[in-house]
């Protein structure tokens, strides 16, 4: 880790449309290990939010417990953050979102936080199509307690201490597809070029947007024989397409070869442009996406990129038919029925 971050910033750092430079989107100094994949993801979050001209205070960052869940302290220091309890970030995010539908909810979790202790809440947040970004920083092990296997560790993967994981891995991307998530992506912390547009698209997706990011643990799970080490992941990552996130206002200026580019319109007018290299599935077809991810798994490959997207699914507020005004802004005049209505209620109970 970097102990002292230079305070000096180049005075001519580029500014975004809000007049903020990228440092405005940074957070506190990371206390994670030097080379931790999670720090790269935090950096990608900072860049994505800068590029998207997000006002940091309009975004709330939430997490559970674990190394990954510490990261919200390391980006967007002008956003409110909530480091909750282990595995329970989805419920806190649900309540927060119900209270104010106008903010962006950015959840960060880990493989222990999501695939073990928090599995129930993760699954139900998907079931309700909660409008949030949910990133799992997935390193296949428990860092803070010194390297135990997590539920996403691959069967046969070897730990630093030499033990071989005997259990099947829970594949979170497959699971979320199966559960009906409207946005499923997978990436690698070492592939910023892919990760940033995915984060941007996830933020703009209406509904639950899941990104499973393989993020190696340099201290406990970066050894030969581990399937979550930098080397292994680099060798087995299968990025079959590159993608751009195109905000609404931007005109299409580049010409792509017919047939190799797929454009996905998002509900707010922005779009995702996929430039296929070898992608042979349709990310707007769930069955096709499930087949592709299963096929890659069976071949020992990690499929990355935008796996599946459905912009038509209704999010939780639409299902509950809540009013457009954020509930936390409704005034007493609107909320309290008053004494006259109470007299009628009393009369009905006599």
């Amino acid at each position: 880790m970097t102990y002292i971050r230079p305070k000096f910033r180049h005075p001519e750092l580029p500014k975004n449309k809000l007049g903020y430079s990228v440092d405005f989107y940074e957070g506190a100094l990371s206390t994670l290990c030097a080379g931790c994949g999670h720090d790269s993801i935090s950096a990608a979050v900072v860049e994505a939010c800068f590029d998207l001209n997000i006002e940091p205070h309009r975004l709330a960052k939430l997490s559970g417990i674990g190394c990954s869940s510490k990261t919200p302290a390391y980006f967007l220091s002008n956003s409110h953050g909530f480091n909750s309890v282990h595995g329970r970030m989805p419920s806190v995010a649900t309540g927060a979102n119900l209270a104010n539908r106008d903010l962006i909810y950015f959840g960060v979790s880990g493989d222990g936080d999501t695939a073990s202790i928090g599995m129930g809440q993760f699954v139900h947040a998907i079931r309700r199509n909660l409008n949030m970004v949910y990133i799992v920083m997935n390193n296949g092990c428990y860092g803070l307690t010194k390297g135990q296997d997590s539920a996403t560790a691959d069967e046969g993967s070897k730990s630093k201490a030499g033990s071989v994981n005997p259990f099947q891995a829970i594949d979170l991307a497959s699971l979320s597809l199966e559960l009906g998530a409207g946005f499923v992506a997978q990436s690698f912390s070492g592939d910023k070029k892919q990760l940033i547009p995915l984060i941007k698209a996830a933020i703009n997706h209406r509904g639950f947007a899941f990104i499973n990011v393989i993020s190696p643990c340099v201290t406990f799970n970066n050894n030969p024989g581990s399937t979550k080490s930098y080397d292994f992941v680099r060798q087995h990552v299968e990025a079959t397409a590159t993608l751009d996130f195109v905000p609404e206002m931007e005109e299409i200026t580049t010409n792509y070869n017919e047939g190799s580019t797929q454009q996905v319109k998002m509900h707010d007018g922005s779009s995702i442009r996929l430039h296929k290299i070898a992608q042979d599935w349709d990310p707007q077809n769930r069955i096709s996406a499930i087949n592709a991810i299963q096929k890659a798994r069976s071949e020992g490959e990690i499929l990355t990129g935008l796996i599946y997207i459905d912009e038509e699914l209704g999010e939780l507020h639409e299902v509950l038919q809540t009013t457009d005004t954020p509930l936390n802004q409704l005034t007493e005049e609107v909320l309290c029925p008053g004494s006259e209505a109470l007299s009628e209620i009393n009369a009905g109970l006599r």
Binding site: A60, A73, S79, L98, Q321, L342
Partner: protein
């Protein structure tokens, strides 16, 4: 053979039914008719954890004097469940009445010499009058209500009126019901001397009182308090709290044209998620609550600790049932006191409220939101199955239109502009209560990181022992501040008059008040206090100190309230005498009388 004297407006009727046979609405009809005749009436549903088939009882106490607690001794048993009949016969007090279905001859094991039998061929009458099987079952209940109206002198027009209200919009169902009532009336008039020596007489005792269950009152209270987010997981006996909230919100919080709602209600995947959602919503500035029972509170412990430590408001309505573990899910108890007071690991303390009537359920639910937001901490309202699920005669609900929600110390964008540096956990006012901000308030000021880990006054993570301790001490200060904000106790005397006192709370109140009268009749005068909240304030401490013996009445085995008094006030353990009831049934005045009398004069045997 009869009861000693005419018992006008003073008796107990118990109905023994089979669960799931439609008896509930017929029995409620009976109760409501007596209520409409201006007389105090208290029904108790004694039901199994079952959907259909097991025995269920409905006990109704009628009291001219206005006693609303349970009373032991059944004056009239309406026995329509063969499964429990032996037990039912045995529970009638000598000289009482046993109404049964005489379609089949009563076997001799059910015959007692000291009670009166009223046989009505309910099944035969139904079979003769109706052809549909479901109707035959349902109208059997209505026939016995008709019979009771003649036996007890309940005004027939009152029953007819209630049926008309019940079937408003489905008027064609009314004549068949009235016919069933009339069948019962006619049978009694043709076969028995009526009315009985136990009977009702119209009075004007109850004024403008209402009849409602505590859970519905809590749900309505949450609507009035401005709750906008409710998250819950179904569990008996709390389920009807959020169901009531939901149905009142459908009526009072829904745009009639668009159908859009000023409320969000989520049935969570479990109690952990329910309280998590409540905490998330409150953190984000919406008033939010959940309702559960003991097992749910157990599951919510970790989150309650977070809300205490990170200082996030939360309202939790705990409708207590008989524990431990699954216990007796459909029986009452006051046994979550210690669990609620100290929920979660580490040093934690929570505010508790103890309502004892539906009116208080309504008011205290509203108070709970104010307290939670002013003190930025969880508030747990401890009601119970007896209060929550039974209908009670209650004073009507009152809402002062001048009342304003107390949202506590929340800084808006303008406030933030005026301050140099915002310290989320900085005790600016010296009362232990710090200022908070909602997410989304200001572009560059007021953001902070909420966490369950230790932090300094500026919400920055720290493992510095001194900073941790400062924070814990401030939380104690805040808890002390709360002592004068929570509802004050009720005293039953202007000045203390006795060395002895009764100490009670929640649903022990009715029985305790009645016991005070019974003690007085025996020449024993006692002072009394009813507490409504925790932490205890100075008044509670003073009251205990100024008496030689304080009878702490509670409905659990381990004297949990007594423990709380010992821990929090350092009260003299010799002074606090427990009066306990933990069989799952609401405590009775006789029970209190017996235990208190025994303690005051050990030579005295059972008083009844």
């Amino acid at each position: 053979m009869s009861l000693s004297a005419d018992k006008v407006n003073d008796f107990v009727v118990r109905f023994a039914n089979v669960n799931g046979t439609g008896s509930a609405s017929a029995n409620f009809l009976f109760t409501k008719a007596i209520f409409r005749m201006g007389i105090y009436v208290t029904p108790k549903n004694i039901f199994p954890s079952n959907i259909q088939g097991l025995p269920t009882w409905y006990e109704v106490r009628v009291s001219e004097k206005g006693y609303l607690g349970r009373r032991e001794g059944i004056d009239l048993m309406v026995a329509v469940n063969p499964q429990s009949m032996l037990e039912d016969v045995a529970s009638v007090r000598p000289g009482g009445y046993f109404l049964y279905d005489s379609s089949k001859k009563l076997h001799k094991e059910y015959i007692r010499e000291d009670i009166n039998y009223i046989g009505i061929p309910l099944m035969e009458m139904c079979n003769a009058a109706y052809t549909d099987a479901r109707q035959r079952q349902l109208f059997k209940n209505i026939i016995y209500v008709g019979a009771l109206s003649a036996l007890l002198d309940i005004e027939f027009a009152m029953l007819e009126g209630l049926l008309a209200e019940q079937f408003a919009g489905k008027e064609k169902l009314i004549p068949a019901n009235v016919k069933a009532l009339q069948l019962g009336v006619d049978y009694v008039k043709n076969n028995f001397k009526y009315p009985l020596d136990i009977r009702v007489e119209r009075r004007d005792l109850i004024g403008d009182a209402i009849m409602i269950d505590g859970n519905s009152a809590c749900g309505l209270g949450a609507v009035y308090a401005g709750a906008t987010v409710a998250a819950w997981y179904p569990i008996t006996p709390s389920t009807s709290v959020v169901e009531a909230f939901s149905s009142y919100a459908d009526e009072l919080r829904t745009d009639k044209i668009t159908g859009r709602k000023n409320v969000a209600i989520v049935q969570a995947e479990d109690e952990l998620a329910a309280i998590g959602m409540v905490i998330g919503a409150n953190w984000n500035g919406a008033r939010s609550f959940t309702a559960t029972s003991g097992p749910g509170v157990s599951l919510m412990n970790e989150f309650l600790g977070l809300a205490y430590f990170a200082e996030i408001p939360a309202v939790l309505i705990d409708v207590q049932r008989t524990g431990p573990s699954t216990g007796m899910p459909t029986r009452t108890q006051q046994s979550d006191i210690l669990e609620a007071a100290y929920a979660s690991h580490g040093d934690t303390k929570h505010l508790l409220l103890f309502p004892s009537t539906p009116k208080e359920c309504f008011e205290m639910t509203a108070d709970a939101f104010d307290l939670a937001e002013e003190l930025q901490t969880p508030v747990i309202m401890l009601t119970d199955l007896d209060l929550g699920m039974n209908d009670h005669v209650s004073q009507p609900f009152i809402w002062d239109d001048n009342r304003k929600y107390k949202r506590g110390k929340v800084l808006n964008a303008d406030d933030l502009e005026k301050i140099q540096r915002f310290g989320r956990y900085l005790d600016v006012d010296g009362d232990g209560i710090t200022y908070r901000t909602y997410p989304g308030t200001h572009p560059t000021k007021g953001s902070f990181f909420t966490r369950g880990t230790s932090r300094d006054e500026y919400a920055t993570y720290t493992e510095n022992g001194a900073a941790y301790q400062r924070n814990m001490d401030r939380l104690t200060k805040k808890f002390n501040t709360a002592k004068n904000m929570v509802p004050a106790p009720q005293f039953y005397q202007d000045k203390n008059k006795s060395d002895y006192a009764l100490f009670f709370f929640g649903t022990s109140t009715y029985a305790a008040e009645e016991a005070m009268d019974l003690l007085k009749e025996k020449g024993i005068s006692v002072d009394a206090i009813r507490i409504k909240s925790f932490p205890f304030n100075q008044q509670v401490d003073d009251f205990i100190k100024s008496h030689q013996k304080v009878f702490v009445i509670e409905q659990n085995r381990d004297a949990q309230m007594k423990s709380l008094l010992l821990i929090e006030l350092g009260a003299d353990p010799q002074k606090l005498v427990s009066v306990l009831n933990y069989d799952g049934m609401p405590i009775t005045a006789d029970n209190i009388l017996n235990q208190v009398s025994k303690s005051l004069s050990p030579s005295l045997n059972k008083v009844s």
